[in-house]
């Protein structure tokens, strides 16, 4: 099956059809999706601001990252589920929309970056790493997650 074929199959699915036919399901799912985005934003920013030396400076970064992690993963799951539902209802539109591909690329990079490079830097600790690397990692993280959020918003603009 080609990629477009897969997208067409998604569009034809029963779930996608149900969401398309309801006047309030899409808005509701989308609003929950937006809440998830906000919570991810908070969990990411608590850690990134700390890495930038701007937030909770007195706390060890590794501890903050551990505290924020369940909220980040939780809302990531919520966003995955709600985002998947939204996608099913308008898969073909997404296929032809640059913002969708931009968002998916950002999302992939953001998740990989957060759970590999960023995690490594946080666990290495401040003393064994030049402080500038903490800042670079934080900025890249903010940039990638912003790409996800803003890319997502632009899927809605035609």
């Amino acid at each position: 099956m080609s990629l477009l074929g897969f997208f067409q199959w998604c569009e034809r699915s029963g779930i996608g059809d149900t969401i398309r036919r309801s006047s309030w399901l899409f808005p509701l799912i989308e609003a929950i999706h937006l809440l998830g985005l906000g919570v991810i934003g908070g969990a990411v920013l608590v850690v990134d601001l700390r890495l930038l030396g701007l937030g909770l400076r007195r706390q060890p970064t590794a501890q903050l990252a551990r505290d924020a992690q369940p909220w980040m993963i939780g809302s990531l799951l919520l966003m995955g589920i709600t985002g998947g539902l939204l996608f099913l209802s308008e898969a073909i539109k997404c296929y032809y929309h640059e913002a969708f591909w931009f968002k998916m690329a950002s999302l992939f990079l953001a998740i990989v970056f957060t759970f590999t490079v960023q995690r490594k830097v946080i666990l290495t600790g401040e003393t064994r790493l030049r402080p500038v690397w903490n800042k670079v990692v934080a900025l890249v993280s903010i940039l990638l997650w912003s790409g996800v959020g803003i890319g997502g918003r632009w899927i809605g603009f035609s």
Binding site: L37, V46, L49, R58, L64, W71, I150, R153
Partner: protein, 242 residues
Amino acid sequence: MQIRLLAALCCLVLALCYQATARTAAPTWGNAGRQIHVLSTVSLQTGAGQGIGGSLFAFFSRLGDSSWSVGLHESRYAYDLIESVHVWTLCLFFGLAVMFDLRLLGWTMRSVPVSEVARRLLPWTVVGFVVMVISGTLLFTAIPVRSYQNIFFRTKMFMLLLAGLNVWIFHSGIYRRVGTWDVASVPPRAARVAGALSLVLWVCIVLSGRMIAYNWFDCDRQPQRPIINFLTSCAPTQSEEH
């Protein structure tokens, strides 16, 4: 500083809510001024709002005709860009406010003193809030009359007022004694209640904010239930009622 800012916002929202009780006509072509005021004394004095100023509806009608509003509305990218800023800043403001509320509930960062979270994170929420208000005002300016009569917009403004009130009560109440519970992994009941209330209110504000985009209850979509027309200050013409 935060308190003063929030107090100013509360006043603004209160004024909006007060004015929102004025019933106004459905915006039809060339008939933007017909309105029946219930509570707005200012408008009564200026004669049913037909004069200069008088009511928010007249003000927003004129705002909608301004080059600013038309420019924002008709520009290819301005509206989309401002909305992107609004959504990005939502992460900064709402996200960090949620993290603070979760700390108040004892659900995250339990080992970090509450006052430290407040001192380090709340200034960022203030920055976020200012950007939210500016970008939100611009979004409103792009389609003022429609937004003003939108039931979700009104709900959002009302809940903003409640959220501001909650912040004020928290900071002038239990937070004054934060020294006695600063390091508690689970703060006292009053602080938890403030955190939970804030969480619920901001979630509802985000939800209703997102729903402003939908026109289910808009004034130009008649017939609506009387309660909806009351809440949106919409007075449909006779022909629209059927």
